[in-house]
C-alpha cells in the first residue's frame, strides 16, 4: 500500500463520517442545541450565584457565561467522542463495522482514521458553537479562534480515543445508558468546565484531586488557554499522555488476536 492509498482510505472514512453526521439531522441539531441550552439557561441562572475571580488566562473579571464557554466546547467534543463510540457499537451490532475491519489497511490505521473522522466533525461543531456564542458576548481575541484549532484537535483525539476504548468494551447498544451515567456525566461535572478548581478545592480537597485526575479537566483548560491565545504546556502534555494510553487500549481492544473482539465470540 502506498501513501496515496493510505490518504484515500483516510479521506473515505472522514467523508463517510461527515455524510452520516449531515444525514442524521437530530444528531446534527442536538449537537448544536445542547451547549447552547447550557449557555443560555445554566449560564444565565448561575451568573449571579457564582462569582469568578481573575484567573489565567483571563485578564479581567468575566461573566460566568464566558467562563463556561470553553468547557462547553470541550463538552461538544466529549459528546461527539461518545457519539462516535455509540456509532461504533451500532456499526458492530448492525454489521457495518465488518466492512471497515476487512479492509487491507492495518487495523491501527483504520481506527486512527475513524478517530480523525470523528475529530473533524467535532471541530466543525465546536466552531459553529463559537460562532453562535459570539452573540452571547463570548468574544475571545480573533487569534484565539485560530490558536484553538490544534487544542481542539488534540482534545478531540483524546476524547475520541476514550470513545473507541469504550466501544470495544461495551457489548451492546443498550449498555450505553451506563456510559452516560458513569462516564459522560462524572467526567463533565468533576472537571473545571463549570467551576474553577480553586473553588472546588475550597469545598472538598478530595473532589479537587478527582478533578485533577480527570483528563477532561485538562482538555477543557487546554481549550480555554488556547482560545485566549495562550499555550498551556501541562494540560497539553497530560492530554497527549492520555491520548497515547487510550489509543493503545483501543488498538488492543480491536486486535483480532488478543483483544476483546476475539474473546467476545458470537457478538461480532
Amino acid at each position: 500500500m502506498t501513501l496515496v492509498q493510505y490518504l484515500r482510505c483516510l479521506g473515505g472514512i472522514v467523508r463517510r463520517e461527515a455524510l452520516r453526521w449531515l444525514h442524521q439531522r437530530s444528531r446534527f441539531i442536538s449537537a448544536l442545541v445542547r451547549p447552547l441550552v447550557w449557555l443560555a439557561i445554566f449560564g444565565a441562572g448561575f451568573r449571579f450565584v457564582l462569582g469568578v475571580s481573575i484567573i489565567p488566562p483571563y485578564e479581567t473579571y468575566i461573566p460566568y457565561e464566558v467562563y463556561i464557554a470553553p468547557g462547553l466546547v470541550a463538552m461538544i467534543q466529549l459528546f461527539n467522542g461518545m457519539q462516535s463510540s455509540l456509532s461504533m457499537v451500532y456499526d458492530r451490532e448492525m454489521g457495518s463495522m465488518k466492512t471497515l475491519m476487512v479492509s487491507p489497511f492495518p487495523r491501527w490505521f483504520l481506527l486512527g482514521s475513524k478517530l480523525l473522522a470523528g475529530v473533524a466533525v467535532s471541530v466543525v461543531q465546536a466552531y459553529m458553537f463559537l460562532a453562535i456564542a459570539w452573540f452571547w458576548e463570548i468574544e475571545p481575541p480573533l487569534r484565539g479562534y485560530l490558536a484553538v484549532l490544534p487544542a481542539l484537535i488534540l482534545a478531540g483525539l483524546m476524547l475520541g480515543a476514550l470513545g473507541l476504548v469504550l466501544s470495544s468494551f461495551v457489548r451492546q447498544l443498550e449498555n450505553f445508558a451506563g456510559v452516560m451515567n458513569f462516564v459522560i456525566f462524572p467526567m463533565f461535572f468533576a472537571s473545571s468546565a463549570l467551576y474553577p478548581l480553586w473553588r472546588v478545592k475550597e469545598s472538598s480537597l478530595t473532589l479537587y484531586w478527582v478533578c485533577q485526575a480527570n483528563p477532561f479537566t485538562h482538555a477543557t483548560e487546554l481549550i480555554r488557554f488556547a482560545l485566549y491565545g495562550r499555550f498551556n504546556p501541562p494540560a497539553a502534555a497530560i492530554v497527549f499522555g492520555w491520548l497515547l494510553l487510550l489509543m493503545s487500549l483501543a488498538v488492543y481492544g480491536y486486535d483480532p488476536g488478543r483483544g476483546l473482539m476475539a474473546r467476545r465470540g458470537g457478538a461480532e
Binding site: M1, T2, V4, Q5, Y6, R8, C9, G11, G12, I13, R15, R16, L19, R20, H23, Q24, M94, G95, S96, K98, T99, L100, M101, V102, S103, P104, F105, P106, L110, D255, P256, G257, R258, M261, A262, R263, G265, G266, E268
Partner: protein, 299 residues
C-alpha cells in the same frame, strides 16, 4: 468494463521461478495530464496483481489447514482443512451452529486463528494480511450497508477502504451496479431498497475492487425465491466467466448444483469434501440431501 475477464482468459505462463506471470495484463496505464505523460498503476490492479501474480503455480485461491478455534471452553472449529480453487463454486454446507460464520470471521481476519493456517493465493493471512485481504471480496451474513447513505456513497466508501481512487472506482461501480440491475438507483438511500436489492448492492460492493476470491456467508438468508435465484445465477456466472474462486456458505442443500464442490461442516469439523456426484456415490445416497443427512447422522 473491468480488466478482469480479458486478463483471466489470457493463458498464464510459467517463469523461471515457477510462478504465474500474465504478460497480457495491462499493469501500467498511461494518463495524459498537465501537458506530460505519466505512468499510473491503480490500487485495485496492484493489489490483485500482487496477490495473484506472485502466487506460486497451482496454489489454491484459499487454503485452510489444521484450523481450530475456541470460544471459552467451546471448540467451535476443530482441525478444519480444505482448499478453494480459481473457477470453483465451493459450497460450505452446514447446519446452523456448524461453525461457518466463525470460519468466515477467521478467513477475513475479524478473529485471529491461534491454531492452523489460512492462505490466500499462497499468502499466509498472519504474515501477509494486506495482500490476502486485498484479493478477497466478502458478503457477510448480516447486512453491512450503511442505510443512511446512498448506494453509490456506500460503494465509494468501500473503494476508499481498498485505496482506490474515485476515478478508478467510478467505472467499476457503474459496471458492477449495472450487472446487478441497480445502476439507476445508485443515488437512492439504501434504506429505500428492498432486502433483495440490498443484497445485490452488497454483492456489487464485494466485487468493486475486483477480487479473485469471493466469500459469501449465507447470502440468501431472508430473500425471496426470485432474489435467491438471481444471486445464485450471478455468482455462478462470475465463477465461470471470470474464473473467480467462490466460497458460498449455506444450510440450504438446493443451493448446490451438480458442478459445485461441497464441503460438509458439522460441529466444527469437516465431514466430507468433493463434487456432488462423488459425495452422493460415497454415501450410497440418491441425492445430496440424503447424503448430507447420512454424513451428519454418522458423525
Amino acid at each position: 468494463m473491468g480488466y478482469c475477464p480479458q486478463i483471466r482468459m489470457a493463458a498464464p505462463e510459467k517463469n523461471r521461478e515457477g510462478r504465474i506471470s500474465r504478460p497480457a495484463y495491462p499493469r501500467e496505464r498511461f494518463h495524459e495530464g498537465g501537458g506530460r505523460t505519466r505512468m499510473v498503476t491503480s490500487a485495485r490492479e496492484s493489489a490483485r496483481m500482487q496477490a495473484v501474480e506472485t502466487a506460486p503455480l497451482g496454489r489454491p485461491a484459499l487454503a485452510i489447514e489444521g484450523l481450530s478455534h475456541v470460544f471459552g471452553r467451546v471448540k467451535v472449529l476443530d482441525n478444519v482443512g480444505f482448499t478453494v480453487r480459481p473457477g470453483d463454486f465451493t459450497v460450505l454446507l452446514g447446519l446452523n451452529g456448524a461453525g461457518k460464520t466463525t470460519l468466515f470471521a477467521l478467513v477475513t481476519r475479524l478473529y485471529s486463528s491461534r491454531t492452523g493456517s489460512i492462505s490466500v493465493f499462497g499468502h499466509e493471512l498472519g504474515r501477509s494480511a494486506a495482500t490476502a485481504l486485498a484479493s478477497m471480496g466478502v458478503v457477510f451474513q448480516q447486512p453491512t450497508l450503511d442505510l443512511d447513505l446512498t448506494v453509490e456513497q456506500n460503494l465509494y466508501y468501500h473503494a476508499a477502504l481498498y485505496g482506490m481512487a474515485r476515478a478508478d472506482a467510478a467505472p467499476r461501480l457503474a459496471a458492477e451496479l449495472g450487472r446487478v440491475g441497480l445502476l439507476e438507483r445508485r443515488r437512492e438511500r439504501v434504506r429505500q431498497l428492498s432486502g433483495g436489492q440490498r443484497r445485490r448492492v452488497e454483492l456489487a460492493r464485494a466485487l468493486l475492487h475486483d477480487p479473485a476470491l469471493l466469500l459469501l456467508d449465507e447470502p440468501t438468508v431472508g430473500l425471496d425465491i426470485e432474489s435467491r435465484r438471481f444471486l445464485l445465477q450471478h455468482v455462478r456466472s462470475l465463477c465461470a466467466g471470470r474464473n473467480l474462486a467462490v466460497l458460498w456458505a449455506t444450510h440450504l442443500i438446493d443451493e448446490a448444483d451438480a458442478e459445485s464442490r461441497i464441503i460438509v461442516l458439522h460441529r466444527g469439523r469437516v465431514l466430507a469434501e468433493g463434487r456432488v456426484p462423488e459425495l452422493v456415490a460415497r454415501t450410497g445416497a440418491a441425492d445430496l440431501g440424503t447424503a448430507f443427512d447420512r454424513l451428519v447422522r454418522a458423525a
